[in-house]
Symmetry: D3
Subunit: 128 residues, 6 copies
């Protein structure tokens, strides 16, 4: 992992922006690890910053979606870090329970649909 003290200027610049944006004084292991490739660090941070901010969906909803994908992919680090972010943004225990219930059910029905080879309904054929 690349610690701040040892980081090249272009890496420090990203770290500074992460800490300023998130109002913290440290940077998670994820960033310190991918900093081994400064281009990936910069591109990933800029994408995340653009995507996870407020928009048509609020930041909490975006974190819930992030956790849903990560639980589906069995990515423990991502579940841990984005659940923590979601809690900071207001996710209650009850909301987490409902999130998990939907994620579990979606994974179940995804498998049922494929196993039963369910045919697309006429009204779902249009992609728009």
């Amino acid at each position: 992992m690349v610690e701040y003290a040892d980081a090249a200027p272009e890496v420090r610049e990203v770290y500074d922006d992460i800490m300023a944006t998130r109002k913290t004084d440290s940077v998670n292991n994820f960033w310190k690890t991918i900093a081994r490739d400064p281009a990936t660090l910069k591109r990933t941070w800029e994408s995340i910053k653009q995507i996870m901010g407020p928009g048509a969906l609020d930041p909490l909803t975006k974190e819930l979606i992030y956790v849903a994908v990560s639980a589906t992919n069995q990515c423990e680090y991502c579940i841990a870090s984005h659940s923590a972010s979601a809690r900071k943004k207001g996710m209650t225990e009850e909301m987490f329970g409902e999130l998990m219930a939907v994620v579990g059910m979606a994974n179940e029905t995804n498998a049922l649909v494929s196993g039963y080879r369910v045919e697309l309904d006429e009204q779902f054929k249009s992609r728009s």
Copy 2:
């Protein structure tokens, strides 16, 4: 697929409840296909009904989470049907765009985390 006209009474009962709950006069292919196993039909519908209704998370947020999981799992039917449900519940084109952006980014960083073997930060080790 089991059509209403040919359905056994316990299947019809589920179909009736689906149509009443969703305020429609037809049943999607998913239900008509899994109706080949009435126990699965009944259990799946009752779970979905319990999970997808209003709670700490609103029904639209739940549909977004469903689509996020389905896009991650490459389940076309599930994406098509739950995107349609999400639109009925108020998902705009802009919200869909942001949903996809988060889903894409989460899938990207899930792979980065595993490939780089990112170590869990101290503050994420506690599971509660």
Copy 3:
């Protein structure tokens, strides 16, 4: 796809063995497609033949396991072809329904376990 008439001798030899083993007079598209790489054709067929035959598990149970994996991976071709094999080996409609119920539930709880970060019980820590 490599048709029998156009196949090189080492491909024909595999096709002949597939047809003799399966007691059919044609070869599925899977084999005709991977025959573009004769080494992959031969290795895959020999592995499948060794693995799917009778052993401590009977051939039908093996087909059920194959379908379970394929439904989880959303591989339509694999679901279609191995469901057909399972039916030939005695899978009834009721067995298929129970197979799908287990597959759906396993996919659901796999996601719950990861999302909730369930800790390994003491008695499951030993790998043997």
Copy 4:
């Protein structure tokens, strides 16, 4: 995790049923963790109980299918707990070896089918 001593009555009721059904005097971490959401606990247990009992498929075969899905999804907890259940129900070392061989091969051919874009054979097009 919700321990029995601290559990609300509706959680205790599920724990009691789990222990009675499984003839054990303790409850696995999975149940104690999802008990944070009593509705999910109850629904998941009732589904599992209905699905994993004897039917057209015997309980051991169902455990094998569970392990197959869990190995495909890289869910360590699920592999550990359901392998243990399978062993209790009679899975021998030889059966486990064959299970893994089929799971490995199915994951391999699932990827080959998608990479080669194998076309569905005429006889597999019908979904029934």
Copy 5:
């Protein structure tokens, strides 16, 4: 899909850059579909352009890696489009066959490792 004639200026700018970079006079459906969200279009194209160009890995190797991921995820569109790109960059039939063989084997052993719960060797514990 957003056709060039109907595209907003910021979308046209991306289309122009895609066509100039790839030396073609049309844009694939992928770009025309995600153009519904111009921010995603721009960010994705700029990332792809930065990542897929020559570097320590040559562009053909990068296409092979892209196809490997896409075959693992069962994404037909991605396999089709990146196999085509790989062929333009020099992938022969023999190389494709070897690519698929490695992808198949990796998916097989990934499942074996998880099912057998293989323990990390001492020399693999260090992450650097």
Copy 6:
């Protein structure tokens, strides 16, 4: 795990071939674990040996592809062991960074393609 000292002759034979081929004097945990099923050990080793050697693709490229699949599947053991093999065969830190960037991007666009239901372009419809 089956140690050399305790191994049956047919297992020792495979271990000897692994050590001779790889020019090492020990065998990784993967092999020692699957040796519980000698048929799987032998078949898997022979397949790996055939597939991972030099051919139209060089051995380093094959290791990169292996890591790409393993990162996508979240298989930590496979990432650790095949990254180590890749480094031995010449993978630099810069190459690893580019590998991860492509893997991350491919996982992102795979999800975008499925979520947006991108339609296959005319020129990609032919499978050959």
